[in-house]
Symmetry: D2
């Protein structure tokens, strides 16, 4: 149930609605919009009788919400959300390019790649300090040392920083260094981690799980939003299918599906989906043309010697070509 306030409703009227919802045994979460505020009722198991709420001052209408998710739903929030991070706006029409290596390997490596991606127009630098790896014997990332390198990258290049947290410990650390906190595909249903991410004052980049439906993905985003963090960016990165020409099957239909169901922005990671650098440029063009709000791209100055997943990292000249193509394609949009 969504209680929509009148355009000129006061903050006091909104608070009165929230108090009344609490008296009914539920929780009221205010959702400020550009024109007016709505209050979402959370915690009800069945239908809610809104008669009492509708009689309060400043209340315009009560909208039953039929989808299992509420806060992420376009039904409750018809305007597309624009997530601001520093001076970058994700979802604001201009595709945002987040680029960098799979893993932070050293200060020199990170700065070399960051300088390169900045030069070609990327606004956000990505690089993992904590890596969720299939094998316990693989390189697991530099940890906090990697975060300090990322901090230096921001200081020296002015790029914003996106990096992954894989558990509660790394989340606390990452939140202290990153501008955008990434939750990876394998953790998409790690609900405890999602709740903690929901308590941060940082945007969260939530990757789609390998076997997640659109509804499950949005429910994961709902976990974050239900804790109060409204800055969630979704990221399609391929799903697991029988098809073996790519590592995962990039599902670009996720873009119109998310647009339809949710107000949250969605970006696309063609590097992890394809697992092959030669497919990254065409799939990036496709993602932008379908309507993605941005791209997450893996780049390395020396892929052959990358510590992880070098197979899918773009060479510098490929990244330059990608940025050039996206630049031209933007004029079409």
């Amino acid at each position: 149930m969504l209680i929509v306030m009148k355009n000129d409703a006061t903050e006091g009227q909104v608070q009165a609605v929230i108090r009344e919802i609490q008296k009914m045994g539920y929780r009221g979460v205010p959702m400020p919009g550009a024109i007016r505020t709505a209050v979402c009722i959370i915690g009800n198991k069945g239908p809610v009788d809104a008669t009492q709420l509708l009689s309060l001052e400043g209340v315009r209408e009560a909208i039953p919400v039929t989808k299992p998710y509420k806060l992420v739903s376009r039904e409750t929030h018809p305007e597309s959300s624009v997530i601001s991070v520093g001076d970058v706006k994700i979802g604001g029409g201009e595709p945002v390019i987040i680029a960098g290596p799979c893993a932070v390997e050293s200060e020199e490596q990170a700065l070399t790649i960051a300088t390169l991606v900045k030069e070609h127009g990327a606004r956000v630098f990505r690089g993992g300090a904590f890596k969720p790896r299939t094998s316990p014997y693989s390189f697991q990332g530099l940890g906090e040392k990697g975060l300090k390198i990322l901090q230096k990258v921001r200081r020296e290049t002015g790029l914003l920083i996106a990096t992954e947290a894989i558990d509660s410990e790394s989340l606390s650390l990452v939140a202290g260094y990153a501008d955008i906190v990434q939750i990876g595909a394998r953790n998409m249903q790690n609900y405890s981690l999602l709740r903690l991410a929901g308590q941060l004052n940082k945007p969260v980049l939530l990757k789609r799980g390998l076997a997640a439906t659109i509804d499950e993905w949005l429910m994961a985003a709902e976990y974050i939003m239900s804790e109060g963090n409204t800055r969630v960016i979704l990221c399609e990165r391929g799903i697991r299918t029988f098809s073996d020409n790519t590592r995962n099957t990039l599902d670009l239909s996720a873009i119109p599906s998310i647009r339809e169901a949710s107000h949250l922005p969605i970006i696309v990671d063609p590097s992890h989906a394809a697992g092959r650098r030669d497919y990254v440029i065409p799939l990036s063009r496709g993602a932008i043309a379908v309507g993605a709000d941005g791209l997450l791209i893996e780049v390395h100055h020396d892929p052959a010697h990358a510590l992880s997943d070098g197979m899918q990292s773009l060479y510098p000249q490929q990244f330059a070509e990608l940025m050039d193509e996206i630049g031209r394609l933007k004029q079409f949009l």
Copy 2:
């Protein structure tokens, strides 16, 4: 094994190579290219000793072909094939739009829609006269009566005609009326039908099976080509996955995969993949931006009363919008 002839090899020299291959117990299929001809050896189970062939006049080199397919392979035919149908060229750089209803319902319906799609720039009209239907109790198409209607559409509008054959009987009929013969996803591994299609003097539009890998799809095309028909157009139409936001999951990574492995053109059918008309425009933009050679689009002047699959047919105004967007997007490419 591929026997590559010298640039100035004569037809007589090519024939001599073919005769020698026959003496070895195999079959030699000439593959003329823009610059030179190659002869593909078919029928060998293991490695072929090419010593004798290399000693013939006009022979430049012998290339072992490691992939399970030969004739469709880019290894054997490095230049991309351009399929000419009437004055339309598929694979020639300009995306070709094939549009029309799922099924031919009546002369009036077909002419109405054909006029509409032609007006907006489509070059080929599609419409099924033989429909492979999941249920034996569903409308199975008008049969030859439908083909005669398609003939009239061509006469009156000048559009080329693409329509589906579902078995040997309908194939004979369709071949007499259509400009492009379509083999549907469910028949992608109907090898007898593929062989018969390989004996036609008409281009064949071969849809990817719902559970077909890229290699299996190319092997199906190889069946057609091994009978002598070199004009095969591939069509990605979505694969079956767990994801339920669309009817099938459109796999746009098939485009770079086909480009890499084969010289054949590839078009995309977003209508059947999505199963929802609202996703057709964004997915069409994506397909063209990734590099598809064309689109297969379902349009109906009155989707609500379409005899089949109305849910995914574009409304006329949506088709106009699609053509407009593709027109603008082409300038970027």
Copy 3:
């Protein structure tokens, strides 16, 4: 719509119902059961008004059939069907073992394997004379020569013969030699072939398509039954999934699903599903324990030299072990 006749309805009364249905513009198919007959109405697109039919003599009731399939449905035919082939009954409680090589290679090979499988208790011999092969360059079977070998196997061993038809031509031939006509997974939605199989007076073994849902599979069976052939045996043979430990994922839950939805018997082919001979025995035990009516097993006297798919053929001693285990397991059931 199903018109259920009274227990003592005469043949004349059944015919009168069929004639009345024809007058209504539909088709009536009689379905004799152990206790009473039902007449299934086919060809209606919407609801049928049964008032007139209910007034006929011998009619007990009219049952609307909500599932998209009718003749295969347990709703219309509550008792499980038992398919008799010679003196073998499939679906009669005793699991039937159909065994033999992937392909008939020679008379000697076929007779050697047939003698072997008979000795261990198999009742039906399988072996392909027409092979649907992914590659046009693979061994495609001996054709009619293979069928003649199978005829000799029957004459010399008394085993019944099951073999595959892949198109209308091979279907005519196979129908003249085989006791059970197999339609393979790749042809499960080759509707023309299904219709032709529906006109045979031979039981049809219909394999599940690699990407077929239970409903689509039953609809394929409905195609056969709607032409009048009621002797359809379903065969689960694995579906295509992301999981790569077996060639396909054997879906044993298909057994209770088919039992629930249909009266048709269901057997299991663990050889093609697993693609590895070492898994065939445990999966066979599982299939029988879940409730399969039989097994389709690949056996070869010399798998290392089999012309096709030797990897999954059981060695003779493995087949002996399998038959021994199934024999003991039957006592449990």
Copy 4:
């Protein structure tokens, strides 16, 4: 690399090997077997030169391990592991039945169901106190209160307790109450949780992820074992596929695959795979016949009023029937 000790090697010789491995910069983990001990080398990225190790006393041979997992591998530990929990042995030939409700709802509910499952022969009681739920608004379990109820169940019935941990906080709590700690499918690649579970002195029941290959599943088990906890029980619970007749597709071929690759026991959860109680008995029979070491079964005394997933919980009389069938089936094995 695995250093296999002689049968009569002393503990001191084993320790000397471990010290030598440490000097080489790696880690040596002793793996005691029934006959002899092996030492597994962990932490190497490439091949290890074992010359020095082979010269030590008590060393029999060095075996290169090619699979990405080591400790879970049957290559390193040819005998099947038997996991002892109280007086129950999992993997010891006798199938172990773990049964109970999806969630602990109240003391009365838990005791009622526990009494029931014990009466019919279950040895372990299951019930969730922490529930990973797709929606943040669903019942998330009673938490520690639920664990105290489970403690009472053990005290009053003598049943062992299996219950799920979903994060580091619940893991600490669960470890204090449970006999077996369950890691759910959604957390199969929550590597931080796996590492913590590897530090417990409790057996861990590790469910297969919805989209996990056999190799990824074993790598997850390797995470647990690499921290020192050797008591890992694997649980197949269905994978995500296109097939919609069951909630997930139960992959019984996982049993022979795990047997081949690993020494760890494997049990099967047919309740979550099927999502429908009527399929649980046949699939349980199948799992045991294929060779599962046990079953995880959902039972409720009143499924219609279960707090979660009542649809798949067996009724008491169905559970009685299941136990009866498994009892008879065991005689076959």
